[in-house]
């Protein structure tokens, strides 16, 4: 067997399904569906209004099909189940009451939730299909004034804050998928870091899609008050199904004066098979608002899964001297497609943004960077630096860069650099001549290529990301 054959035969290791009884609502979407979801969650009237407004907007919107560099068959939105939750006896108060099957599921995913085994230094909110099943270290965080809980709980317990900020960064009519999410979102994570607090541990949400018929529509809201600091991690996996599942999430970040939010994602949804059958449609809206002076929002993403990725984590730099960063590695193999990048909207004076994007494309995959840098008239002395590098593996993969630059203030400075390279036979031979196997040589080259981004990731995530890229590229060479 050739190296390539050995490699391609390795499996996506998160592709299994948990056998658990779920409570699902009938498939399809109507105003009644929206009301039903809201009712299931015993939501207040204002929340239902928010959903209905979004739903009515959505009815008049179109899928963004013409401008992204992606292609996919028609999605029947009436064929999706919009709410699926593992059956529970009653609202759980402690982890002991969580279904052991769910605990085992997350154990198997490497995210132990039980008190004894919890990851040190990382608080986890575990989301399974439509609901959050457990959040660790809640009490410890509370002592510092940090609120970290499921979105549903936040709507019940912290309505004031949620109401104030929900939809303030991504309005319900922002785009087709954001409107859909705003209408039907079922759960997600909520974080609130009060004034002057440096969050004592990493916060993270682990998303697991289990049901083959349901979509996942989660909502994340992070609010960092004046002078606070938080680092948030997000991980995702899904079973292998030969159907496509829709994942349409919305993430909103708000940073007030002198606050800093660091948001890292390692996305490893199921990507479909080599022929492009199955896999997740990852259509996600992520946006942060640097509302206060000297605030900072930093996005780091490692996108390796999904059949299609459509995602542009963005920053609105409203406060003077605020800083936006976007570090991205997007890897596509086989038939995967990615159209991903960022938007940096400079509103305030002396605002700065940095964009580092690394796209890797192998097999027949198509990988596009799409990024907007917009300097508004009042953004005196705004600065942007953008670097987009693409790496191609094999001769059938594609890479594109679509930069949009709109400058309305003469005192600003915008730089854009782009490059495209290939893993050459000479480079591989050189490393192999030193005793390094072909697999390891490819990993080494790719990790070198992505180094500027990996340096931004928290330690454990960086290790995970490095390993993941190696796995994902198996069979790409040979």
């Amino acid at each position: 067997m050739s190296t390539a054959e050995i490699l391609t035969n390795r499996e996506y290791k998160y592709g299994w399904v948990t056998d658990i009884e779920s409570e699902t609502i009938p498939r399809g979407l109507s105003e009644d569906t929206v009301r039903l979801i809201s009712q299931k969650k015993s939501e207040p009237e204002w929340m239902l209004e928010f959903r209905l407004k979004a739903y009515r907007n959505w009815l008049n919107m179109q899928e963004p099909r013409h401008w992204p560099n992606i292609a996919f068959p028609e999605v029947n939105y009436q064929d999706i189940i919009y709410y699926s939750a593992p059956k529970q006896r009653a609202a759980k108060v402690s982890l002991d009451e969580v279904d052991p099957e769910l605990l085992r599921t997350f154990d198997k995913l490497g995210i132990p939730l039980s008190e004894q085994k919890q990851l040190a230094g990382v608080a986890v909110d575990a989301v399974f299909d439509s609901v959050s099943v457990a959040t660790t270290y809640k009490e410890k965080l509370k002592k510092h004034g940090v609120i970290f809980c499921s979105f549903s709980e936040a709507v019940r317990e912290y309505a004031e804050i949620v109401r104030k900020y929900l939809g303030s960064v991504v309005p319900t009519n922002d785009n087709f998928y954001a409107a859909l999410n705003s209408a039907v979102f079922s759960d997600g994570s909520f974080c609130f870091i009060p004034k002057g607090v440096r969050c004592p541990m990493e916060l993270s949400t682990y998303f697991r899609i289990n049901n083959s018929e349901s979509g996942q529509f989660e909502r994340t809201l992070i609010v960092a008050e004046e002078g606070s600091h938080v680092s948030y991690l997000e991980g995702c996996t899904a079973p292998k199904f030969d159907k496509n599942q829709l994942h349409a999430a919305v993430v909103e970040l708000v940073a007030l004066d002198d606050a800093e939010i660091k948001y890292s994602t390692v996305q490893n949804w199921y990507a479909g098979d080599e022929q492009g059958v199955g896999g997740i449609y990852n259509f996600v809206t992520k946006r942060g608002k640097c509302a206060g002076r000297n605030s900072k929002i930093s996005w780091t993403q490692v996108e390796t899964g999904s059949a299609i990725t459509w995602k542009y984590p963005s920053c609105i730099l409203q406060g003077d001297n605020s800083v936006g960063e976007f570090y991205s590695v997007a890897l596509t193999n086989h038939a995967q497609q990615a159209d991903t990048g960022t938007k940096m909207i400079h509103l305030g004076k002396n605002t700065r943004s940095t964009i580092i994007s690394k796209g890797i494309s192998a097999g027949h995959a198509n990988n596009s960077y799409r990024g907007l840098v917009k300097i508004m008239p009042k953004a005196e002395n705004a600065r942007n630096y953008t670097q987009c590098d693409s790496m191609l593996i094999g001769s059938d993969a594609g890479a594109n860069t679509f930069p949009y630059i709109e400058v309305m203030n003469n005192s600003s400075q915008v730089e854009h650099e782009a490059s495209t390279s290939r893993i050459s036979e000479e480079q591989l031979f050189y490393l192999m001549q030193r005793g390094i196997s072909q697999e390891d040589a490819v990993s080494l080259i790719i990790n070198g290529f992505c180094k500027d981004v990996f340096l931004q990731l928290p330690m454990e995530f960086a290790v995970e990301a490095t390993r993941l890229l190696g796995l994902k590229l198996e069979g790409a060479i040979g």
């Binding site: 000479e426 050189y430 490393l431 192999m432 001549q433 005793g435 390094i436 196997s437 390891d440 080494l444």
Partner: protein
């Protein structure tokens, strides 16, 4: 240690090597000389297992094993090293990271102890002295932004770390100023011992002023056309290669 028997090799359908015979014993230093296009570098690359070169006939035995059956990485772990004429850049990968991975692969292959980053750092520090390289080189990306001389010194550093049985140096002297040439040559000499062998592939005699070969083989049009001791190199320096081109095939190459 190494025995090449009637070796034919081609690249893109063009036959470059046309029946090479060569025997290299432990402790020996062999120089392969010849004009441009004679097949010197091809021979080096075929020994290392470059995928673009196809061996069409003949065999190569290394320590009794059929070398041609082994993939390049396994050949390396078995103790075959090639210093590249044009060392390749690997952006974002530090020299130390790269070398430790290579070192540990070999150790694993030989059933010997692998080193953690700290232990390896100590080893690297020692080895770097051989080619007078500063510690700052270890944290820099492999060959990226290195001058020609630094790249060649880096090749010899890799040789020092990997401690190969057979080292094939492909035009290691090309593009070197006199100081770098001295450092590189002294490095090779320091690393040589009676259990190892070296094949120097070179166009010019210059390198042989520093590294004394036991045997000199002259390649022309894919065959060894003349063989001799170190004095043959001097003769070539004086007369050039033209007089050999139409000459008879040397006795050694049947």
């Amino acid at each position: 240690m190494l025995e090449i028997r009637n070796l034919y090799a081609s690249v893109d359908g063009n036959e470059i090597l046309k029946g090479i015979n060569l025997k290299v014993n432990k402790g020996e230093v062999h120089a392969i000389m010849g004009p441009n296009g004679s097949g010197k570098s091809t021979l080096a690359k075929v020994l290392a297992g470059h995928p673009s070169y196809e061996v069409t006939r003949g065999e190569v035995l290394f320590e009794g094993k059929n070398l041609l059956e082994l993939s390049p990485d396994v050949r390396a772990r078995e103790g075959v090293f090639m210093a590249f004429q044009y060392p390749i850049e690997v952006p974002g990968v530090s020299n130390a990271q790269f070398l430790r991975l290579a070192y540990n692969e070999k150790q694993k292959h030989l059933g010997q102890e692998e080193l953690d980053p700290l232990e390896f750092k100590d080893l690297l520090k020692e080895k770097a002295k051989i080619v007078e390289m500063e510690a700052s080189f270890m944290t820099r990306s492999v060959n990226e932004g290195f001058s020609g001389g630094e790249k060649k010194r880096n090749e010899i550093l890799q040789m020092a770390v990997l401690d190969p049985k057979l080292s094939v140096l492909d035009e290691t002297d090309s593009g070197l100023d006199i100081d770098a040439l001295r450092i590189v040559a002294e490095g090779v000499n320091k690393l040589h011992d009676p259990n190892k062998a070296v094949i120097l592939v070179t166009h010019y005699q210059r390198l042989l002023n520093y590294i004394t070969p036991d045997f000199v083989h002259v390649l022309s049009a894919g065959r060894i056309v003349k063989e001799g001791g170190k004095e043959l190199a001097l003769e070539l320096e004086e007369k050039g290669y033209d007089w050999l081109k139409n000459g008879s095939v040397a006795a050694g190459a049947k």
